[in-house]
């Protein structure tokens, strides 16, 4: 603010010392007619003079002029800005910017610039704004130029660079000058230099500039004219179909238009006489061949235009040459641009591959988080728990409820994670004791009983929280994304989920392989009878293991809730995928779950990349792939061997 004030002061005092001490009013008086009724051509003179004068008060004047707030006092021809409208208008002096006088509405003539003129005024304003002391106005002007690039902006933008004080804006301006130079610089050398300078830039707007330079249009001629900058000679049959080729000939008025089926029909209807057309009975006109015969008879009689025969079409197409030519006439520039664009596109392609890889990795970590609890209950214990998805949902709703009581998002997440674990651990233990324990030797019935629990829990959640999606807001430090370049970016929340997945992997491996509990779990899994005879209580171990698997589902629910919406159906969305992950990876093995999640994550992203418009199709193909995969590796990617593999 202070800087702006000083700048304004400097401008104010500097002006009278300038070579010509003219006021804004003086300039306007010399162009009375153009100010009052500006035309798109005549306005240029006024604008040029205003720009040349460098008067600071020109900017508010231009703004007022554009907004139709400039009036002329009819008595002496002086111009004023309208300060307050009404029957009596308060007038503001254009040079001092003070409300000086009032005048009745009838004694004033309003300046009425039309749309085209107002756009021209806007362009001129951009030039002023580029050196405006207010950085926001400068930024807005630069953005305006970037939105619609145009040759006239090059000079003022270049002129404003030297005085630019803000480093970031300076960089933007220089980049913009580069792009403008590539398209509009006067000499071929300058343009080539500018284009080559841009070839390291991956951003979308640079690619757009290059694509504009390389824009082609389709032409057709008997021979390729001299001086045409030909991009490609089109081969009829491979690059375009004969029908398209003929349509282009018609469009270029090099061949007579075809008679479409609808026109044939219209002509036949118009020429019905005595129940027949051209010698064919109306009732028989129900095939295209019969209609054509009738139409040809009409054409022979001279009452309608004749049809273009297939032979004539083929001859016309063969006689002409179809080609694409660049709108840019200079071949040296298009050559350089093509090379630069190819280089950029190679880099973009590489970056997109990396970006896709990151996407796939984050999807894989979500699947891993959703499935890791199952890897324990289903994979290690062999208990199929269809309500696992509902444990994920319970975890997510726990996070939501905590956020209702603890408004600080960071703190609420820190509370929600262990709370979700505790709640779902409890739910898991209760379910194991009440239901699953009684069904250990009837796996199919476990599936159905847990499914019953699943629908009951889902409906309960719907009754308590309603059907609409509930938000689980992430802390501020997880907003935004880690940006590597214009193509590669990954949001912090996905990184957090990835890190969480890694932590879980390490934690579970540690629990299973390095703790007493893990040892006992593995012992009970392999041979409950023998484990029991060694003094391990299988009931207790099963209960704890099931609780652990469920608790992890709860934590996964909080993580998934941060990234997707919390609904009562969110668990059902993940359950089939989770089972797939465990089965594909290999039952009974945490590493297998990791492999399964990675395979499914990367596969899904890969299929989506091949067919980007359709995630539903991607999921369909992925499931089909998994069904086939299980045919060939029924035990999953990481198959257990030896004693551990025994059923």
């Amino acid at each position: 603010m202070l800087r702006r004030y000083i700048l304004a002061l400097v401008l104010l005092f500097a002006q009278p010392i300038g070579a010509n001490a003219q006021t804004l009013q003086d300039i306007l008086q010399t162009h009375q007619e153009e100010v009052l009724k500006p035309g798109r051509r005549t306005v240029g003179v006024v604008l040029d003079d205003l720009v040349a004068s460098g008067l600071p008060q020109a900017v508010p004047f231009l703004e007022a002029w554009r907004d139709r707030e400039i009036v002329q006092r009819e008595s002496d021809g002086l111009f004023f800005a309208v300060a307050e409208d009404g029957d009596t208008v308060a007038l503001r002096d254009l040079d001092t910017n003070e409300v000086q006088t009032t005048a009745p509405d009838t004694a004033l003539t309003e300046a009425r610039p039309n749309g085209g003129v107002r756009r021209a005024i806007g362009d001129a304003l951009v030039q002023f704004q580029l050196s405006d002391p207010d950085i926001e106005k400068r930024q807005a002007a630069v953005n305006a130029i970037a939105r619609s690039m145009d040759a006239s902006q090059l000079a003022p933008l270049q002129a404003s660079i030297e005085a630019e004080s803000d480093a970031a804006l300076l960089a933007q301006k220089e980049r913009l000058v580069g792009m403008l130079n590539a398209s509009f610089a006067d000499s071929t050398q300058d343009r080539i230099a500018a284009i080559e300078a841009l070839s390291g830039d991956l951003s979308v707007d640079v690619r757009a500039v290059m694509n504009t330079i390389l824009a082609t249009s389709a032409h057709v001629a008997l021979t390729v004219p001299d001086g045409a900058n030909v991009a490609q000679i089109l081969d009829v049959g491979t690059d375009l179909t004969p029908a398209e080729a003929y349509d282009r000939l018609v469009a270029a008025e090099l061949a007579p238009p075809l008679v479409p089926k609808s026109a044939i029909r219209e002509a036949l209807i118009a020429n019905i006489s005595d129940g027949s057309v051209g010698g064919v009975a109306v009732a028989e006109l129900n095939t295209d061949a019969a209609r054509e015969t009738a139409y040809d008879a009409l054409a022979a009689a001279g009452s309608v235009e004749p049809r273009v025969t297939t032979q004539a079409q083929a001859d016309a197409v063969a006689a002409h040459i179809f080609y694409l030519s660049y709108d840019e006439p200079d071949p040296s520039i298009t050559d350089v641009t093509r090379t630069a664009l190819t280089a950029i596109e190679t880099k973009v392609g590489l970056s997109q591959t990396v970006d896709l890889g990151l996407d796939a990795l984050s999807l894989a970590s979500i699947y891993f988080l959703a499935a890791i609890g199952l890897a324990i209950t289903f994979g290690v214990m062999g208990v199929i728990n269809m309500a696992h998805g509902e444990f994920i949902m319970m975890g997510a709703y726990t996070g939501f409820v905590v956020q209702q009581f603890v408004p600080d998002y960071t703190l609420s997440i820190i509370i929600a994670l262990p709370l979700a674990f505790a709640i779902t651990f409890g739910a898991g233990v209760a379910m194991e004791r009440l239901v699953i324990r009684h069904l250990y030797h009837r796996p199919l019935e476990t599936l159905l009983a847990t499914f019953g629990i699943s629908i009951a829990l889902q409906q309960l959640a719907k009754n308590i929280f309603g059907t609409q999606a509930r938000p689980l807001t992430s802390p501020e430090w997880l907003d935004g994304a880690l940006v590597f370049n214009d193509v590669i970016a990954i949001s912090y929340i996905r990184i957090a989920i990835f890190v969480l997945a890694l932590i879980f992997l390490a934690l579970i491996l540690y629990v299973l392989k390095r703790t007493r509990l893990g040892l006992e779990v593995r012992a009970v899994t392999q041979n409950p009878g023998m484990a029991a005879s060694m003094g391990i209580n299988p009931d207790r171990i099963n209960m704890l293991t099931f609780g652990l698997g469920s608790g992890i589902a709860g934590i996964a629910g909080v993580a998934i809730g941060l990234y997707a919406k919390v609904t009562s159906e969110m668990g059902a969305d993940y359950i089939v995928q989770s089972f797939m992950t465990v089965v594909v990876g290999g039952v009974g093995n945490v590493w297998g779950t990791l492999a399964g999640a990675s395979l499914i994550g990367f596969l899904q992203k890969g299929i989506e990349w091949l067919n980007p418009s359709n995630t539903l199709a991607a999921q369909t193909y992925m499931i089909l792939f998994i069904i086939l995969f299980i045919q060939f590796r029924p035990k999953g990617i990481v198959a257990l061997k030896g004693r551990a593999a025994a059923d």
């Binding site: 295209d288 209609r291 199919l444 019935e445 029924p634």
Partner: protein, 389 residues
């Protein structure tokens, strides 16, 4: 001779057929058609649909209760049957409408124009007008009826062959069939699946060629057809599971390895049962959806197949009448509760609205049935029989 011994072995078949016949006659007599009008047309439709659900439940019972394959995909076969018949119904009806509207034109329409107009009518909602390949036989009722049988059958045959030959069993097979169902539902949800995506096929209650016949009559015709199909399906499956084949199939359920070691080709038996039941499910679907009037991909979602298993489990696995009882009982109860027929319970501090709480009740009662009454409702009959003897 053979026939007599089969029926003698299975007294329940005769009982079932008689009860079904009496039920059908009573409903027909009390319907709008005879003028008695004690059972409304919409309730006749509900009963007819329920009979179709009983038929698919029997199929499910054979594949799960007798053969031990918990398929979570049989409702998908049911849906495919519905889609197959729905394609003909929709095509033929739209063709009738289009021909009528084109009849007033000064010159007769070409086949291409007719086909375009029908395509526009049917696929306009998904922004297309071309007929996809799968509609190639839609204009022919006989071929499309063949599709009702062939498509579920072929799908079950290929899927079953792949799954059984690599010895996928138990819960793995359940998950695999569920994945198949999910893949099919997701595929059908796409607009370019060629089956109108999310919109599904609609207007199926209008039977082309019988526009003049009232819905009351049509509903009774379909009700009787469903009853006949159910009776035939019951006899067919009762015959399959009673003979020597039935013994092998039950043997596979109880100990697959042992049956294999006895020299039976287990995979063939399983494949036969899986495919046959899929075909019957398809037929049931083809009878169900003209009564429902609309089919969309949501009907095929994995949850529907799980409900099918729920019905069979509640009714009582391993006995065919159990499946019928379960399907009829649970689906009618479900429509009574969710349709607002059940009175709400006022607890003073909270009003239990059954439209919200029915699924909770169903879910938990399902757990209770699995835990304490593994034989389901059918188990009650055993108790009765035992008391008498």
């Amino acid at each position: 001779m053979m026939q007599r011994s089969f029926l003698a072995q299975n007294p329940s078949v005769l009982w079932f057929i008689s009860i079904l016949a009496v039920f059908t006659v009573i409903v027909t007599l009390l319907s709008e058609v005879t003028g008695v009008d004690m059972i409304s047309t919409s309730f006749v439709k509900t009963l007819g649909k329920t009979l179709c659900l009983c038929l698919v439940a029997i199929a499910m019972d054979v594949v799960w209760g007798y053969c031990g394959i918990l398929s979570l995909g049989h409702f998908a076969f049911f849906g495919i049957g519905g889609y197959a018949i729905g394609m003909w119904l929709m095509y033929a009806r739209t063709e009738g409408i289009v021909l009528e509207s084109l009849a007033g034109q000064p010159i007769p329409a070409t086949p291409a124009e007719i086909s375009d107009a029908i395509g526009n009518q049917i696929f306009g909602v998904v922004g297309s007008s071309d007929f996809p390949m799968i509609w190639a036989f839609a204009d022919n009722l006989f071929l499309q009826l063949l599709m009702v049988v062939l498509v579920p059958g072929t799908l079950a045959l290929v899927f079953g062959w792949l799954a059984f030959r690599s010895r996928v069993t138990g819960v793995y097979l359940s998950i695999l069939t569920q994945a198949m169902t999910l893949a099919l539902a997701l595929y059908l949800f796409q607009n370019d699946s060629g089956l109108r995506g999310n919109n599904g096929l609609s207007g199926l209650q209008n039977i082309p060629g019988y526009e003049g016949v009232s819905q009351a009559t049509l509903s009774i015709v379909f009700f009787i057809a469903s009853a006949v199909a159910l009776g035939a399906g019951y006899v067919f499956f009762a015959w399959i599971v009673s003979g020597k084949m039935g013994s092998v199939v039950k043997g596979i359920r109880d100990n697959e390895a042992r049956v294999r070691f006895l020299g039976y080709h287990v995979e063939s038996y399983k494949l036969f049962i899986f495919t046959t039941t899929a075909v019957v499910a398809g037929i049931a679907g083809a009878l169900y959806y003209p009564q429902a009037g609309i089919i969309n991909p949501g009907e095929i979602a994995p949850i529907a197949s799980i409900y099918l298993a729920v019905w069979v489990a509640i009714g009582g696995r391993g006995r065919l009448y159990g499946a019928v009882i379960g399907a009829a009982f649970v689906s009618l109860l479900s429509s009574w509760f969710t349709g607002g027929g059940a009175p709400n319970i006022n607890l003073g501090f909270y009003v239990i609205q059954w439209t919200d709480w029915w699924l909770v009740l169903l879910g938990f009662s399902f757990v209770v049935v699995t835990l304490f009454f593994p034989k389901g409702i059918g188990g009650l009959f055993d108790m009765l029989v035992r008391k008498q003897s």
